[in-house]
Amino acid sequence: MNAMVILLIGVAAIGVGYFVYARSISQRVIQPDDRKATPAKMYMDGVDFIPANRNVLFGYQFKSIAALGPILGPIVAVQWGWLPALIWIVFGTFFIGWVQDYGSIVLGVREQGQSFGALSYRLISPRSRNILITFIYFYLLLIMGAFGYQVGFGLLINPAVPLGVLLVILVGLIAGQMTYKWKVDILVTSVVTVLLAFVGIWLGTQAGVKEFFTGLFGITKDLPTGPTIFLSVTLAKLIGSLLVVAICYFGAILPIWRWAQPINYVSFWIVTLGILGGLVGLLIWRPGMGDFPAFTTFSVTGLGPLWPILFVTIACGAISGWHSLVSSSGTARQLEKESDALYVGGGAMFFEMFFAIMAFLTATVAFGSFQGYKEAGAAAAVFSKGLSAFMNQWGLDTILGQGFGVAYGSVFLTLMALTIMYLVVRFMRVASAEALGDRLPALRNPHVGTIIALLFTLLLIWIVPFLQIWVVFGAANQLMASLALLLVTLWLMSKGKNYQWTFWPFVFMFITTIGALAYKTYEAFFMNLPNAAALAEKNKLTVGQVTAANIIVGAVCLILIVTALMLAWDAVQAILRHRGQKASAAPVSAD
């Protein structure tokens, strides 16, 4: 199978999905009316409700929803073979992903810009709001663990990467200074800082710098991964994880215009140029999949059975619960006209599907064989090497030196992860202050809240293996998606509209996610814990670490299952209630 065929499948799915299916649902069911004032126009308070042009909002929505999820998920999922992963990316987006994003925006617009917390409280049950907060909290904690693991234990331990990352961060700070304090034109700032960022990444690949970091990590011929400090954490991994935590600390504490925003801005250009460069290389090369199998096995070691685990492994590339929160709390309050909702919500999700297909291709075609993919290393390493292979088709390494492409891909991923992680820590700090600040006043101190969130992060990174965190993170994400689809279904029911297009996706996502959590709980407590010693030896971990990791994973899965079952109970009550209201509102026939 050639990469061009895959890209064409993606384009065809977008064409049919958006222009036929999505448009038909929008016109027949939602029936957007541009004469109605959206909350952005009705309130226009200058704080949360500010109308924006549809194209601007599309860019904003896409940037808000596209992160590491659509990259790492497909790369991990092709272990089942390329066909199941591709089917879920395409059909998941086609029938479920855009439905959730679009439905969330419409719900927000038609309900005066209320957030999902308030809507859950009203449409489902009062406790469903707390259930949503629980899902969000675990989702955010697991994101920190998953991304922190890939960055701290994977990307930053490559000696060619740390300096590049640090220099890009410095360049970001300079961009903030230039924009906000020196009032330099944004175009000049962009050109200068992006060029400096490239120089920084290039400097990181120089022999002297690599030697320095190799020495710092204690890497020698006899110790190719460096000395182990504790558990399975080598010196390199310790430095990498502490660097991640330090960067997140500053990102969470400093004013957003000083650190987070300008670094995000420079990172956006690194990422965009990387994607464009990779796409150009792919179009020049047009590689095939070699012997990459369409299907390998139903149950993959370390992950689990294809159903239900594949459907939570690829989250953001097909459907992601976080999109519903971004859509309802952000986009819905900025929509200028109702008819813009499909273009912004549905369009951005279909575009993200394309992004996921690009990541899928880095795993399946860049290495020429399945064995090549397996030897490339962890998911992040697969992506950076794959992207580098695409960009080398037009001579990136020839122009900027051997190894630049891989370093660039690694910095690309590191920045994407870090820009999300410090925003997550900010949220967790505020959330813990709001939820527990009255009982524990120390949590109101931003430094205390931040440090606690980062300590939890380190615990996860050091103890729990990536694949275990990733699947549970995906499950927490998909539970939020199920809740969003349920909310949209209930709203459609209450308005007497056709709800089949949201109800069946909700049922599928809910059952699949509960199945995935149940499997992971069973695996943790009944498969892994009794065989901790054998697993520890096989994976070069300590027995204590394997035991702790499986207890943490099992406990988190159990909490999520219990809250999901509570939600299921409330959902049934809510559905019966809404159907009852609809029946009692129907006219009584005269006998």
């Binding site: 704080v47 599309f58 896409f62 992160a67 999902f116 924009t179 997550v424 949220f427």
Partner: protein, 93 residues
């Protein structure tokens, strides 16, 4: 002629998308911060409109004509019920 206009519209749309993905959030956050400070000022000066008498009305009435156009948005923003999920308009996926 029509194809030329279509190209121009397409280029304009792409620039808007790029703006939305890059600078828009920074501009939005700056506007939010400015609005929050303006709302705080209005709360201090015209708090009695929400039942919070802070300054004597004699002084505040002098600036009333300048603040009247912003009053509806100000009231909505201050009195709107907030939820933790309101913080979720950030890029975290």
């Amino acid at each position: 002629m029509k194809w030329w206009l279509t190209l121009l519209h397409g280029a304009r749309a792409l620039l808007d998308i790029l703006y939305g993905a890059t600078i828009y959030e920074m501009v939005r956050d700056l506007k939010k911060e400015r609005s929050q400070r303006e709302h705080l000022f209005a709360l201090v000066v015209f708090g009695d409109l929400l039942g919070l008498p802070v300054l004597p009305p004699y002084y505040t009435l002098k600036i009333l004509p300048y603040i009247v156009p912003h009053l509806p948005g100000w009231r909505t923003s201050l009195l709107r019920e907030r939820d933790l999920t309101d913080l979720c308009d950030q890029e975290i996926t």
